[in-house]
Amino acid sequence: MAVIGARPASVLGDLRWGVRRPPRPRTGPTTGGYRLRRTALRRGRAAGLSLALVVIGVAVLLSSLYLTQSSRIASTGYEITSLEARLEILQAERQELLLQIGQAQSPATIEARAIQLGLTTLSGASVHFASPLSDRHP
């Protein structure tokens, strides 16, 4: 039952698609123009579906890329943290080695070690020099 002046099912729908719903054929066989319009409508809907699928696909792709990137950033962060910790350990070991080198090079350490080995310390009075002006060494 047609109601004169009734609103279309969706104003936005009409506005969105720009296609006015074809009038219902009153009598007789369908004309060629009507078939063409229905075909165009179907193609339009198919195209819309395809577009939606493409949009969804792109969105999925972008999301995947974003997730991959985020995951990589997170793993890189952990890797950096791990490397930094390793660097700190190595630096601490280097500092400790420098300290040990310095201590080992200390004259006091060397003197103590020399005394342990049976050597004796030198005093000014015990130093005697051979003269370069002597007859033996003209």
Partner: protein
Amino acid sequence: MLARTDSRIRAVVMLVVASIVAGVIGYRLVWWQVIDRERLADMGLAQLAHAQQIPAARGLILDRAGLILATSIAAESVFATPPTVEDPALAALLLAGILDTDAAELEATLNSDEAWTWLRRRVDLETATRVRALHLPGIGLVAESRRVYTMGGAAGGTSLAAQVLGFVNVDGIGQYGVEAAEDVRLAGSPGSVVAQEDVAGRLIAGSVHELEAPVNGADLTLTLDVGLQHILEEQMLDTFTKNRAVGVTGLVMDVNTGAILGLASYPTFDANQYSVTDPVLFGNPAVSRQYEPGSVLKAVTVAAALDAGAITPTDLVLDDNDLHIYDAVITNADRAWYPEGHGLLTPAQVLALSNNVGAATIGLTLGGERLYDALRRFGFGTPTGVEISGEAAGVVLHPDDEGASKELTTAQNAFGQGITVTVVQLAAAYAALANGGRLVTPHIVAGWTDGNGTFQPRELPAPTQVIAPETSDIILEMLTGAIDNGIANGAAVAGYSIAGKTGTAEIAGPVNVRVRTGWDANGQPIYVDTTRQAYIEGWIDSSFVGIAPASSPRFVTIILIHRPVVGRGGIGERPEDAFAELAPLVFDYYGIPPDRPLPGVANQ
């Protein structure tokens, strides 16, 4: 038809409204994303990102051969946030054992209202691990570094060259010595990073907003020779002990460059234990203590007079042991043996006998103005600029200055009184006497290695010609005679020519005196006890300056004994005797061959 038209109008209205709304939203989006983007991004970042300081590594201190004198090692500092400490009494008890502190004091700290406080700075990693293992709420650790001085000194409980190097305090700032004087170069500059942090406080990769890399401190190379420093420290310890002195100082400097090869004083300290050391020991007496040099300054007076043409080496001055200036009388140190003086003396004899009257006469002959100019030219009264903090300038008075006594000041200065100097200034002056008359700059920093590994030598000012080379040759010969034929022959070393001069000066100090201020009503004198600065009996600075080998000078050596115990037979070990013990070791260390025939060896 009317209904259809009405529907279209409503649709258009809705479209317009939607467009306006979309436009407003779009405008705001453009505003937020484009126009005001930077400010809003910064606001957002400020909420998410945190700034962290990246500490710069402090540079090493190396001796002239690259041996490590000072380095930094990893350490951690323990802090507390008292409001979040759950059981302060238990935490204090547990921490006190590990941190070696008083539990009650620690508990008071943990019960305080402070939001945050240090408990112990720069503990070693083992201690830090033990603290961390307690898992105490409100107790945390921060990574820092700790300065370590690697080499032990000649005496137990001391570190090598402690008063030369200084130390670094808990805040990482150099104190005293080279650490303070070269703090900026050694410390570098910290960097900073602004980035987002995760819940564990770790920086999130890719979130770095600002990054300023730290510039590590340069490695400082000194002119100091660790081997010689050890020899010198052993000698100073021996001299210190024999004299039961308040202090001794020894310095060995290259006469041609001003490079300080060894500098030692006793008593000294362990720079690794500075927090439990008497701060009096932190300064370096060779640069910070100014004293009256006494007779060692006579060589400068004679050199200045010769150089100015006021005297010649063959001129004679009269010593009658009785030189009157105003109401003062200048006499000689050997007045007990030569009460009438030595008669006529050459300048060389004045130096050999260390004659006060002769030196004062030469000074007066030169004149107060020219003697003052010469003393200033030799560097007295001005800091040398040596890279050890706390350097004193010394005091040189012009004869006409307020507080000076005109000719009396000139006469006193001529033999080293009424003037104060530092050991380093004196070394530079004697180096000029020995090296052809050039005043070199005493220095202890040879250069530094920057972050690129490039060694930058320290730029020194060009030496100043303070006396003619001929005058230098003459004075060197006179000073050699002072050892060979003079009262300083204790400094002689068999096989080597030595030039040098001894000096003894009284020390002024606070003296309690009773001063009459008037008379009372009964005619009795009124006395007031007060303190004055005056020379104190038995307080002396005994010093020796040696140049070796005199035939081709390489080193100037100063040994200063501050307030030795003076007995009937003099002091325990005279500085020239200490020099005679030290010099052969230095010759042996540097492989310097004898320049004179050795007694009993030449004819073998």
